[in-house]
Amino acid sequence: MKKVITGNQAVAYGVILSRVDVISAYPITPQTTIVEELSELTASGRLKTVFLKVESEHSAMAALIGASTGGVRCFTATSSHGLAYMHEMLHWASGARLPIVLVNVNRAIAPPWNIWSDQSDSLSQRDTGWVQLYCEHNQEVLDTVVQAYRVAESVKLPVMVVLDAYVLSHTSEAVEIPTMEQVDAFLPPYCPEYPIDTQEPAAFSTIATPDHFLEFRYKIQQAMEQVPGVAKKVDDDFRSRFGRGYSAIERYGKGEAEILLMTSGTVTGTSRIVVEKLIEKGYDVAGIKIKRFRPFPIEEIYKEMKGAKKLAIIDRNLSAGVGGIFAQELRASLYSREERPQIFGFVSGLGGRDITPELIEEAVRYTVDHPRPEEEILWLGLKR
């Protein structure tokens, strides 16, 4: 059944279909309508979950850490400052290997106050040990939530599903809603590795001395390394059941091209049109959509990079002092490779400014016109 729904409603559908047991969240624009939808459904009795009201995002995640340790499927959603406030607990969730799924609606971090789309909030959490998946459209949002549980519960790591403020969260699109039976067949119930037995209570997250701490972190890295394989299998299964799917990266436009335009989130939708137009005009260009940020899909990117001379990457985020974070990840992970194309790191659209087709075209033209970038950070649309 298809429905015209917003990105936030798509999140709520994903949660409902995943048979989440415990939801705990604190409202923040632009995430609010997700939890409004879920709390109303829970209150009316139509959704059989426990909805925990908390006084902060930190508590929301803490509550889910408890619930997830207890062996049930958990969900929360937040944005911007709310996610920053959760920071300590995000580390805890991954360190305790709890497959919690969190939806973050990308929003800039103040000051100055700004409630519009910007990836700085989720990318500030890149070192917390969470898998991060960025979505392009509302269908992908719903499907990614469902897939996220299966990936998370397989590798025992928490997963953050990310969507752009307003462009997705509050914009309606036609979305195919799977049936409960279909999702049930795809997503088995959560089965914790260390279930709580009240008769034989155990201590969780106990102290680990320097003799063992490093090894626990190594195990988290091992789990991260499993993600590409697991996620591919999960997506393959999803594709076979639902006829659509989402790989870590997706190539569009020319099969072989001198210039690759790399984007994440909703900018990809715009880029698809720009790339198509530029190819018509004779440009040697293809697009790469990056869905998965953590673990960074360097193997997948490297495969698609063959023959490319220049990589243009548009970051809707800024790590002040360095530049766009996707660009940094790309530079860092390519350094040890044989083929190292020039990387053009564009920063644009911070705080919700539209990244228009014109700006994207400007980025591609710049890349074509320059053998190498004149600056580490190439500001796109900046009013100097």
Binding site: G95, A96, R97, K156, E193, Y194, Q199, E200, P201, A202, A203, F204, S205, T206, I207, A208, T209, D211, H212, E215, F216, Y218, K219, Q222
Partner: protein, 581 residues
């Protein structure tokens, strides 16, 4: 410390840090490494009390304005709070930790207040009179004998007390002037003991009208005949006319007998008896001069009583030693030597040494010798060993004759009312052990207050209740941040002019408000008094308010063992121990 694991590598390790075994014993996992717990410890006052009073507990009852509750607690250990509140030398106060802060608690005043309160309501000690657990004889109705009789009666024995004198009380009746201990107070406390079914037979001197053969029907006997003999000076003339012993004089005064002392009375000695005699003499309208061979520093009498005696007009001449009492025209002429202090003797005091050729004369109408007391042992049964007039007993009061126990002044050189009451109590439980075939040594060890020798008979009867760590709380273990300096409440004393006119009580007890104020000064060393500091400070909200053995409990599901409760407890009522497993 929690057990350490040593894995060879990550492949052997679990996915997360999780305990292998169950953690019921410490639900915080490795978080809490030390565990706080409420544990009452011994206050220094109780440890110093020869009677074994539960002082902190009864003072707490006073602060709760439950004066009857306070009385109930005191009489568990002591049938003589009215007596002790007035005449005990209160070693409890010398050891009071508050003494290191400002001034010790006036424990004696509070004890007196409680007993006066009970008297004002005519409260009686309730108990089941002897229900035939056996017949016990007590010889002597002084504080030792009556304390023994009291506790035996409470242990359901039939007790008969034999007293040589015409009324009960022993030294309390004959040796202590009524301006210090009114007869009504003593009568009331003795009648309370009789109320428990104790029979007192007066006018029966042991050794004369009664001997061990006459006590065959009794399963055990406690002898506490006291020390009523005045120690002589061994100087010429001390047996002469108008030369009296201090104890005899006090006895006569206490019985309101007529005595002819003349106008000028010399009292020889420096102990409490000498002071009692001199002050009594003043009250009879005579002049009293105390002659003491050492200096004021060495005087064994209590400071406060010396001061009161001087207030009342008693003269004290120090470093003077009479060597001859001569009779001359109805006057006594004392040939005296002046003394100086030499090296320390075995008592730790500096020895008085005569100054050669310092003789002088002093005149007096009568001379009272109060140079110490001795026990009369000649009438005691054969086979009862004694050394220098002190009957030898085991720790439990047992003598060399089976079934015969002894206590009080007869068995000790520490001749105080409190020691006598304590020895009677100890003998009562020793007799109970003896008759029920229990090991009294072990029983005593179990109920010592602190390191002893004081003991709690309450804990003997109720071994599981009001348990207390024997550790005696020191001043340094208290958190005095929570106490404000405050002055000790003084008891009021009658005007000197008025009090030397008769034998009315000098000191008035506390009014309720003063008692409350004084009781609230108590640090309550080692005993939780529900001040709630722990509850207020606990960062984990892990102090549970609950009724039970402790007034507070720790919620070990959440306590992280930070120890803040331990350090913020003003009185050392919380202990910390390492979590071990």
């Amino acid at each position: 410390m929690t057990k350490q694991f040593d894995f060879k590598g990550a492949s052997q390790m679990p996915m997360i840090s999780v305990s292998f075994g169950h953690m019921d014993w410490n639900k915080t996992g490795a978080w809490r490494a030390q565990r706080p717990f409420y544990e009452d410890k011994t206050p220094p006052c109780s440890a110093a009390c020869p009677v074994g009073n539960d002082i902190v507990a009864f003072i707490q009852k006073i602060t709760e304005e439950d004066f009857e509750g306070a009385w109930n607690l005191i009489k568990q250990e002591n049938p003589f709070p009215g007596v002790c509140g007035r005449v005990c030398f209160h070693p409890c106060e010398s050891k009071c930790n508050r003494g290191d802060y400002d001034e010790p608690i006036a424990i004696h005043g509070l004890e007196r207040f409680v007993s006066d309160f009970a008297a004002s309501l005519s409260l009686k000690i309730r108990g089941t009179p002897g229900v035939g657990r056996g017949k016990i004889a007590v010889i002597g109705s002084g504080p030792a004998g009556m304390s023994c009789a009291y506790h035996l009666a409470k242990l359901h024995y039939n007790v008969t007390v034999f007293e040589s004198f015409s009324s009960a009380g022993g030294m309390l009746r004959t040796g202590i002037p009524s301006y210090r201990l009114p007869k009504g107070v003593l009568d009331r406390e003795i009648s309370n003991i009789e109320g428990l079914g104790v029979e007192i037979r007066t006018g029966i001197p042991f050794g004369e009208d009664l001997d061990l053969d006459g006590l065959k029907n009794y399963q055990a006997t406690f002898i506490a005949t006291g020390a009523h003999q005045c120690r002589g000076l061994h100087i010429p003339g001390e047996k002469g006319r108008s030369v009296f012993s201090g104890l005899d004089l006090l006895k006569k005064i206490n019985l309101s007998k007529k005595i002819n002392l003349g106008d000028k009375v010399a009292v020889i000695g420096g102990g409490n008896t000498a002071i009692d005699v001199a002050r009594s003499v003043i009250r009879l309208g005579k002049k009293a001069t105390i002659l003491y061979r050492r200096s004021k520093e060495e005087m064994p009498a209590f400071r406060e009583e010396i001061a009161e005696a001087i207030e009342e007009g008693v003269m004290i001449r120090y470093l003077v030693n009479p060597i001859h009492i001569q009779q001359k025209d109805g006057l006594r002429r004392l040939d005296c030597l002046r003394m100086e202090l030499g090296d320390k003797d075995e008592s730790g005091r500096r020895r008085p040494v005569p100054i050669p050729n310092s003789n002088f004369f002093m005149e007096a109408d009568s001379v009272i010798i109060a140079a110490g007391e001795e026990a009369e042992v000649s009438f005691l049964p054969k086979g009862m060993e004694n050394r220098q007039g002190i009957v030898l007993t085991q720790r439990d009061g047992g003598t060399s004759i089976k079934g015969i126990f002894a206590g009080g002044d007869l068995t000790s050189s520490q001749r105080t009312v409190a020691h006598a009451i304590g020895s009677g109590k100890k003998a009562a439980l020793a007799i109970d052990c003896y008759l029920s075939g229990r090991d009294s040594e072990e029983a005593i060890r179990q109920i010592l207050i602190g390191e002893g020798p004081s003991l709690s008979i309450f804990r003997y009867v109720h071994p599981e209740e009001r348990r207390m760590n024997p550790h005696v709380v020191t001043f340094n273990e208290l958190n005095t941040d929570y106490f404000e300096p405050s002055e000790r409440c003084r008891e009021s004393k009658g005007a000197v002019k008025k009090r030397i006119k008769g034998f009315g009580e000098v000191t008035s007890g506390y009014a309720g408000s003063s008692a409350l104020e004084e009781a609230e000064r108590c640090f309550s060393c080692g005993t939780c008094n529900r001040c709630e500091n722990c509850y207020v400070f606990c960062p984990d909200a892990s102090i549970i308010k609950a009724e039970g053995v402790f007034s507070r409990q720790v919620d070990y599901d959440f306590c992280k063992g930070c120890g803040i409760c331990f350090s913020e407890c003003p009185r050392g009522a919380i202990s910390l121990e390492e979590e071990t497993r």
